[in-house]
Assembly symmetry: C2
Homo-oligomer: 215 residues x 2
């Protein structure tokens, strides 16, 4: 063994396994032995790569946060080259975001963050700032462009983005009982459609807003 590649693979396996176990058990109840098992590795190997249980936790959270963020940014794609039907584009983005948010790893990340924010205040910096913050920022950029193009009426793009995300995530969170209950695709789409409807009433350009649409 001992090749650089091998080491990196082990390290990655450890971080993945760690996140899996932390997600299942929480920080305190997760035991390092179980993490080692999950990663297919011996306990001392874990301590060889990550000094502490605490640093193990930090790195696992950071890695998970990074991968979640990537997916989310990618979900904004349809808004960079929006088609003729803006409503459809927004609903598409909403549907994607909501599915990512309801994903198991994503839920687990949020849960762990909430749970351990008291004991690891520094993790907030690593995760939130490269989480909702960046997503909201990127979304605001798109909304600003759409407003300049006269297809939207978001004078304050940051607030528009904030409200768009709130209208998506809030209802999802309450209906899924904080990620406990699984939600069917139909209901997810309905949540996204409803969010877009309210959003367009508030921020749609005159012609698009459609005070009394379909429903």
């Amino acid at each position: 063994m001992a090749t650089a590649r091998g080491r990196i693979d082990k390290r990655q396996a450890i971080l993945d396994g760690a996140f899996t176990v932390f997600a299942r058990q929480g920080y305190a109840q997760a035991c390092v032995q179980e993490i080692a098992n999950e990663a297919g590795v011996a306990k001392p190997t874990v301590y060889n790569h990550l000094t502490d249980k605490a640093t193990l936790f930090r790195h696992a959270m950071q890695a998970a946060a990074r991968s979640v963020l990537e997916q989310r940014l990618a979900a904004l794609q349809p808004l960079t080259e929006p088609g003729p039907d803006l409503r459809a584009g927004l609903e598409e983005v909403g549907a994607r975001l909501i599915r990512l948010h309801a994903d198991d790893r994503s839920c687990a990340l949020r849960r762990l963050l909430y749970a351990e924010i008291t004991h690891f205040p520094d993790i907030l910096g690593l995760v939130v700032e490269s989480g909702p913050q960046r997503l909201s920022q990127a979304l605001a950029d798109r909304l600003a462009r759409l407003t300049l193009a006269g297809r939207l009426n978001a004078t304050d793009p940051d607030q528009a983005a904030e409200h768009f995300l709130a209208l998506l995530i809030g209802p999802l969170e309450t209906r899924s009982q904080m990620g406990t209950r699984q939600i069917g695709d139909a209901e997810l789409d309905e949540i996204a459609r409803a969010a877009v409807r309210t959003f367009l009433h508030a921020f749609g350009a005159e012609g698009v807003s459609g005070r009394h649409p379909a429903g």
Copy 2:
């Protein structure tokens, strides 16, 4: 001792102390001895009233949830007899709700719920169902009345309530970094005003909606 009153007082002190310590340390890291100290009581007394650490946790959470719910329902008061200025009434309710949501105990309750939902799935029933659920329900009732009175246009009051709360809580949650950062009164009011603005665009009666208000 042994008088009924005395027992109840001790029990209440224990539950309060338990919630305080759990909020500070999380379930796993909280030790019963510390809870006993916080409650000004000996350790065996704790076990005399509540059999387990687990049941102690459950009862503490339930008690906290109950008190939080009461406050929230009371905050809806201004909507039962709304004055002539509906926007002002909604902003008042929004400001109250947002302050309650940002309250320390409330944040701690949410954190603990998120944190231990995996180990105590039954707590969700005791808390959520008598938490956001009931609040959303009560709010929907008010919105329905306002719609019947022609002062609002909430065809689906449940969804309107859902979106109103989402517009309040979502931005609060992101800006307060999940309850970590303290937020000034001015910013809280601004969040509430913005939420009401978007809400009225979507659900305001024709005359009230005011597509381009003040800002």
